[in-house]
């Protein structure tokens, strides 16, 4: 026993040691990809953990109170490519903090309140492409020490305190800079001198985002002869007037994409006037986008006065009623109208237009004709439009269409099978209501179609040739529809190039054996959310390329996967979750298969049993085969024991007398008698006595010895003496064979009367009556005594019948065994036992 003082002496230092342990030494980072990607988010780390392999390429240390980064903080991680230090409360970064990170391409420092940034803080980052320094209290770009990062492609300095747009000289040292995000800063004025560096060293691929800066003034000519890839100015201007002046200040800019407008939650311009955009005439623009401006006008056609030569126009969330009268000479190739409150479908007659997106415009509900002969992409989704006839060249007047999206609309009546639209490659009808789509081969002429989506279109597939003609189809989505009798017939026979098929939520109960036989390239098959009752593998056996099979959310109880060769070899994922799996022993092989195929099954740990009750909501993996072995053993043992018992019973029944003899339970002996029984019968019945009685009793088990007059009476002695001497004296029992002839035979009656007397004298109850044939009562009455006995005592009745005979012989044997020789002296008993001993051997 340790004394308490010593115990305390050991415990206290141990406790002290444990309390000194820093959490990072025992709180592990999440290993996303071994030796490569580690996440140490929000682990209360005070320093860079040292238990992470040096081969790590991605390290996320966000939300840890690192506070400061000393020099060579990451010298252990020379292979790092991505380093995330978001919200690490870093206020100080010392010189050479990232020294040695020569492969680092992305550095994220979002949300750190940096107060002290050493001039060599970013030194050594020779491969850095992306630097995210959002919300770090940066007041100016001028002294930001990134001039040496020649590989930098993206610089995100959004949400800081930068007042000046002056691009410092070091930008000329960043030749491949593509993105500069200066949004949500405090830039008010943009002067010509601010862009001096871009005049000297053009960055043609630069996308500049200045959104959410309170810009008041852009000096005219500031952007003159500047070429940019993109310029975004959203929610910058306080009024339409400021907007007008600033856009005029952009004069001379050549930009591929110009984005103007506001954010839905940052509305500033209240009195937007079309004249605000007049300045755009002095710009060279390829793509123009305008969003979330409160235009509040009937027709905004005047807006486009300066946009005739733009190739792509995108108008998002502008409220104007009409879009009509756009001059035909405009060279627009793409027009996008998203969430504009148009009350009427726009009339467009532009030869140049190749792409027309008109979505989420809830105004008009009828589709007007298009006259766009060169149109290749047409998106009319989310409009609630109705189409009375769809679709053919006559409806759309365009023969070059490749992409047609009519999803999320109203009722679309399929009146023709895309005649004249043979170039279509993409067709989307989802969540619109299709009429007559299953009456004829609707898609017959679409031999080039690659993508077809008819999900949730209220289509009821009755016609088996619905997909005829789609030889090149690769993706077919038809979730949320239904089939006749909820049976999937062989409708995919022509789709030999199909790689993706979605049949979820189709109320399917059964699948035709040959439904997927002609889809050798199918890779992904979704059968989830149906009503399948069992997982029948046979329909899938010809899917030689199948990788993913989703049968989740069905009512699958079990499967016939005992024949695993039917599962495609390429299968990598099988989803059987959310089914009605029965964890019963009858499906033992299936449940064992589930365990064996753990790697294949998705979320196998989450698979639960529905039945039986005692296994409900238990994981399928928890099912134990042993329980089945147990019950199987119990069943087989009980069946076997019942069999054994019945066999034994049958044997005992059959060999009752043998057993009796063997066991010696029932001792019988003739005593002083030589015969077991003396048989009284009429000679008329001798045939029966010889063939039946003698044969059965003397040759059976146990063998009885009968006294028969024709055999055992001693010749030369009077019949009466023989009867008494041989018959009664030497026999234990008397068998009386009663028949018609017996009554009529005087000798028989004589013998019977003697037997009666004998029985009376020796006080033995030894007469066994066998009624061989029914005797007439009148005849029987002649023998009063016999009549009385027969009516009072039990007698054996002979019936020549297979069923009754064994019973008869059994009873007779029993009667003969019964009442063994009883002698008044014990001496006879001992003799008896001696005799028995000799007989039983």
């Amino acid at each position: 026993m340790m004394p308490p003082s010593r115990l305390a002496g050991t415990l206290i230092p141990a406790m002290a040691f444990l309390s000194c342990l820093r959490p990072e030494s025992w709180e592990p980072c999440v290993e996303v990809v071994p030796n490569s990607t580690y996440q140490c988010v929000d682990l209360n780390l005070y320093k860079i953990p040292d238990n992470i392999p040096s081969s790590t390429k991605n390290l996320d240390l966000s939300f840890n109170p690192l506070k400061r980064l000393g020099s060579h903080s990451f010298s252990n991680f020379t292979e790092l490519k991505v380093l995330d230090l978001s919200r690490c409360e870093i206020h100080m970064i010392e010189d050479d903090a990232y020294q040695g990170l020569n492969h680092l391409s992305t550095l994220v420092l979002t949300g750190n309140p940096i107060q002290s940034l050493a001039s060599g803080a970013f030194s050594g980052l020779s491969s850095l492409q992306r630097l995210v320094v959002v919300e770090i209290n940066l007041a100016s770009l001028e002294n930001f020490p990134i001039g040496h990062l020649k590989t930098l492609k993206e610089l995100n300095v959004a949400h800081n305190l930068i007042h000046s747009f002056k691009l410092p000289k070091y930008f000329s040292n960043l030749p491949i800079l593509e993105h500069l995000d200066l949004s949500k800063n405090r830039i008010q004025n943009i002067y010509h001198k601010d862009l001096k560096v871009l005049h000297e060293m053009p960055l043609l691929n630069l996308s500049l985002d200045l959104s959410l800066n309170p810009i008041d003034f852009i000096q005219p000519g500031a952007f003159k002869e500047i070429k940019l890839h993109a310029l975004t100015l959203r929610s910058n201007f306080n009024s339409t007037n400021v907007m007008k002046i600033c856009i005029q200040g952009l004069a001379g800019l050549e930009v591929h994409r110009l984005v103007l407008g506001e954010f839905k939650n940052e509305r500033k311009v209240e009195d937007f006037e079309k004249s605000s955009l007049e300045g755009l005439c002095n710009l060279i623009i390829k793509e123009f986008r305008l969003a979330f401006l409160d235009t509040s006008q009937d027709n905004i056609i005047d807006l486009f006065n300066c946009l005739a030569n733009v190739s792509a126009i995108s108008l998002v969330s502008l409220n104007f009623d009409r879009l009509e009268g756009i001059p035909k000479n405009f060279r627009w190739e793409s027009l996008e109208l998203v969430n504009c409150q148009l009350k009427k479908f726009p009339t467009l007659e532009h030869i140049s237009l190749k792409r027309f997106i008109f979505t989420a415009n809830k105004g008009g509900d009828t589709f007007a004709e298009l006259h766009l002969p060169n149109l290749e992409i047409l998106d009319l989704s989310r409009n609630g439009l109705s189409f009375k006839g769809c679709c053919s060249y006559a409806d759309l007047k365009t023969a070059k269409l490749k992409h047609l999206d009519l999803s999320f609309n109203g009722i679309i009546s399929m009146s023709s099978n895309f005649l004249g639209l043979e170039q279509l490659e993409y067709l989307d009808f989802r969540h619109s209501t299709l009429k007559q789509s299953s009456d004829f081969p609707v898609f017959l002429s679409l031999n080039n179609l690659i993508y077809l989506d008819i999900s949730y279109t209220h289509t009821r597939v009755v016609f088996h040739g619905i997909f005829d003609g789609l030889f090149n189809l690769q993706i077919l989505k038809m979730a949320g529809n239904s089939f006749q009798d909820n049976f999937l017939p062989n409708i995919f026979t022509k789709l030999t190039n199909l790689t993706f098929l979605d049949l979820s939520e189709c109320l399917l109960e059964q699948v035709s054996q040959g439904a997927f036989d002609s889809l050798p390239r199918l890779q992904i098959l979704n059968m989830s959310h149906n009503n399948l009752l069992s997982l029948d593998i046979r329909p899938y056996k010809h899917l030689y390329s199948l990788q993913v099979l989703d049968c989740s959310f069905n009512r699958i109880v079990a499967s016939n996967v005992q024949e695993p060769q039917h599962l495609p070899r390429s299968l990598a994922l099988l989803n059987l979750t959310e089914n009605n799996i029965a964890c019963a022993c009858e499906h033992q092989s299936f449940l064992q298969w589930v365990k064996d195929q753990r790697q294949l099954l998705v979320e196998v740990e989450q698979m639960v049993c529905l039945t039986p009750l005692d296994m409900k909501d238990m994981p399928v993996l928890a099912f134990r085969n042993a329980t089945c072995h147990m019950s199987k053993t119990i069943i087989s043992v009980s069946v076997l024991s019942v069999l054994v018992v019945s066999v034994v019973v049958a044997l005992v029944y059959k060999f009752y007398f043998h057993l009796m003899l063997l066991a010696g339970c029932k001792k019988y002996g003739r005593g002083e008698s030589i015969y077991d029984a003396f048989v009284i019968y009429s000679s008329q019945d001798e045939d029966w006595v010889r063939n039946e009685l003698v044969k059965n009793l003397e040759e059976g088990v146990p063998p009885f010895h009968l006294c028969l007059h024709y055999r055992d009476f001693i010749p030369g002695v009077a019949i009466a003496a023989n009867i008494i001497q041989e018959g009664f004296h030497k026999s234990r029992k008397v068998i009386v064979v009663v028949s018609q002839h017996f009554i009529q035979s005087r000798w028989c009656i004589f013998e019977y009367e003697i037997a009666q007397t004998w029985q009376f004298l020796s006080s033995r109850s030894g007469i066994i009556f066998i009624v061989l044939q029914k005797v007439e009562k009148s005849l029987l009455r002649q023998q009063v005594e016999l009549y009385r006995l027969l009516s009072r005592n039990t007698y054996l009745e002979w019936e020549d019948n297979v069923l009754w005979r064994p019973i008869f012989w059994r009873r007779l044997r029993k009667a003969l065994l019964d009442g063994k020789a009883r002698s008044p002296e014990g001496k006879v008993d001992s003799e008896n036992s001696q005799y028995e001993a000799t007989t039983s051997t």
Partner: protein, 163 residues
């Protein structure tokens, strides 16, 4: 009311960074989003990682259109895409399920769309709701904001009591 809201927001925004990592296994306190004429809205963050601030101005039984709300949170995930799932329950049974895209990648609708992990976002603006009379009773509202990777950005269990 405004002072209270501001204090609540400031507290909610500061608490995750100072209390860092303590969220797992704990439940966040219940906040009052609004309490006005006959209507009380309470909420509790169901994101194990952090709490957030939320308030509604002028909430009455007869809900006005385009309610003004304030919402502040520190992002734990990038939100190039952002979706909102709302489910309304009363007495344990679901009445309404809505899914609403807040941010779409190709064209950010709100100024906070496209913001990155670690950034603080603060939204003060109208909610795009119609005029609506709330029937008397107690309702449970489950709100979840998630991004393109289906990672939870914010999650709330709200209780609406209308008397």
């Amino acid at each position: 009311m405004k002072g209270f809201t501001a204090a609540l927001l400031v507290w909610a925004l500061i608490s995750p960074s100072s209390g860092g990592g303590g969220g797992v296994g704990e439940t966040w306190p219940t906040h009052v989003a609004c309490r006005d004429g006959g209507l009380e809205v309470l909420y509790q963050s169901c994101d194990p990682l952090q709490d957030f601030g939320f308030s509604v101005e002028q909430c009455y039984k007869q809900l006005k259109p385009n309610l003004s709300i304030r919402f502040g949170i520190i992002l734990r995930e990038d939100i190039n895409k952002l979706f909102l799932d709302v489910s309304l329950l009363t007495q344990g049974s679901s009445i309404l399920n809505l899914s609403y895209p807040v941010c779409e990648e190709d064209f950010p609708r709100f100024s906070f769309c496209g913001r990155k992990k670690g950034e603080q976002i603060y939204y003060a603006g109208p909610l795009n709701n119609p005029r609506f009379d709330i029937p008397e009773g107690k309702y449970q509202v489950l709100l979840e904001l998630y991004n393109e990777n289906r990672s939870t950005v914010a999650c709330a269990n709200a209780t609406v009591i209308c008397s």
